[in-house]
Symmetry: C2
Subunit: 338 residues, 2 copies
């Protein structure tokens, strides 16, 4: 094993593991370092493959998640990885770790939520495994999907001068989590919407397909860890940087409204909070009107401008006080951060 500097943070750990696993073999169109792996079996489509684990006490708290909601969310976060490649989901396997002290009726309720979400999104749960857990509930889903090989979008491909867009306003999931963690009660609609944003995120599968099918994006990622971290990944993989003007950042009005009660900076939640599960993508400026038209045709809300791709590295937040690089500064609530 070669000498190596100590590894700090999830990105560095994944990179160090990557070096151990070596380059992907033939038949693998895309290995470690994107939202999904992509397999090339010679057909018209690449096969997309992803895995994600949710751990009680890290990713969710059963004080405010119902078990059906949890099954549903586990599917959503995996579906978001398929959306981030421009793909269509196909099948799922569930690996469920269940605490001995919990009634198995709860496992069935979780399965019911997962099954219903599967029907809604056209994903069949076709197998899996249950194990005993000495701690809390553990929930791993692995999904397969497909994407026409000419359409697949990755984290690579953003070019200097292109616009950066997101498929929806930012920060609601992070605000919802803060609210739920602290047990705050906000005004009715606001409370409901922010809770839902954390408890029941909607993977942007349709937007991903529009971008892929109509070849409107040059690079694509989903917002699981926050703009600062995820745009940082996209920039690093594309070999570019990004400029994000604070004044025009698409912060959710609900986050603005909740910020005083939460005592947080809404811009921080929007750019550094995670789990919005919106898509973030880059597109040439010349495509801007085609982009709006395609989203409108698909019945989707218009993509929102976030900034511009510049010479790298860095994700430069522009405020009245000047510029600072926020790359990798997502709150990383849920991730490994050592």
């Amino acid at each position: 094993m070669p000498e190596e500097k100590p590894v700090r943070g999830e990105t560095a750990l994944i990179a160090a593991l990557h070096r151990r696993f070596g380059p992907p073999p033939p038949g693998v169109a895309l290995g470690i370092g994107d939202d999904c792996a992509a397999l090339d079996a010679g057909g018209e489509d690449f096969l997309l493959w992803t895995v994600d684990t949710l751990v009680e006490g890290v990713h969710f708290d059963l004080a405010y998640f119902s078990l059906p909601q949890l099954g549903r969310k586990a599917l959503a976060v995996n579906l978001s990885d398929i959306a981030a490649m421009g793909g269509v989901p196909l099948y799922a396997l569930l690996s469920l770790g269940w605490p001995r002290h919990r009634d198995t009726a709860g496992a069935l309720a979780l399965g019911e939520g997962l099954a219903q979400a599967g029907q809604e999104y056209g994903v069949a749960v076709i197998g899996g495994d249950t194990v005993s857990s000495p701690g809390g509930v553990l929930l791993t889903l692995t999904l397969l999907g497909r994407v026409p090989r000419e359409e697949m979008l990755t984290r690579q491909g953003a070019r200097v001068g292109e616009g950066i867009y997101v498929t929806g306003v930012l920060g609601e999931a992070a605000a919802g989590l803060e609210m739920l963690k602290r047990g705050l009660a906000l005004e009715g609609e606001l409370h409901q919407a922010l809770s839902q944003a954390h408890l029941d995120p909607r993977p942007q599968l349709q937007a991903g397909r529009v971008l892929a099918r109509e070849k409107l994006a040059t690079a694509l990622i989903d917002l699981s860890d926050g703009v600062a971290t995820d745009l940082g990944h996209l920039c690093r993989m594309s070999g570019v940087g990004a400029r994000v003007p604070a004044a025009t950042a698409p912060v959710s009005p609900r986050v603005q409204a909740a910020a005083p009660a939460l005592g947080v900076d809404p811009l921080d939640l929007a750019l550094k909070g995670g789990e919005d599960y919106q898509l973030l993508f880059t597109a040439p400026a010349a495509q801007a009107s085609a982009l709006l038209a395609a989203f409108a045709r698909a019945g989707l809300p218009p993509p929102l401008p976030l900034g511009e791709i510049i010479t790298g590295p860095g994700v430069w937040l522009e405020t009245a006080a000047g510029e600072k690089d926020i790359a990798g500064q997502g709150f990383d609530h849920f991730r490994l951060d050592l």
Copy 2:
């Protein structure tokens, strides 16, 4: 949700989840209830897909597992599921839950063991995910493999009158676990072999391929939960029963030798202990000599007779004291058992 009796035990839980997930859609050759799911993408091969989670304190104890051994074993137990379909492994994704208090150097050591085992078995680790774990180490692997569609073996297909075979002697992994858990020191070679059986099981990929390619078996399963449980699964899925004469059961001589020190019945360890990761299969009596010849040609040790398929249900252990049904009586050390 329809009224349902309370669910007890892992098999019942999986069956109840299965009802919620519904029948597999077109394109799925085999859904829940076998060692792998099998996908039919229209080519010559079915795609095999499996997922397994190992949980610290349930499936392994880092008091006697090194982290590279753990990475290696996680791959082995998943490979055994591919072997149990007669398949060839292709790719793996890792989802690693790492405790905040552990140095990431340990995660890299685990990755190193996994990478080395992957090279040995021809499996590329092509992606994955790391998360923080509030408890111990969590390790999920999902594997894809392939099997020619005409060759795939499942848990279904055993017929009355056929012989039941295993690919090696039984009980060593369970004896090794007992020995390690109690911190017993046995005589050198015995200690080493029993430790290895628990710490470093060898998936029977080559035997699975011989059985599949030469169409020698009618049904196949791997021994993860013990003969009593796994032969029980095979019988239930095939709609048959089994007769297992105690006097001729292929109990490992090492287990016989260690039994007095462990204070256990060697037959119990062999039939109810888990994790041997040998293959168990059924074959017509008329094939017995072809079977031996094929294993010899492949340089594999001869399959060992375990019993006979009879009219079901049940897995009937025949002793001097009479017959009893041991179906589902595996120790289930590691599984969910409520």
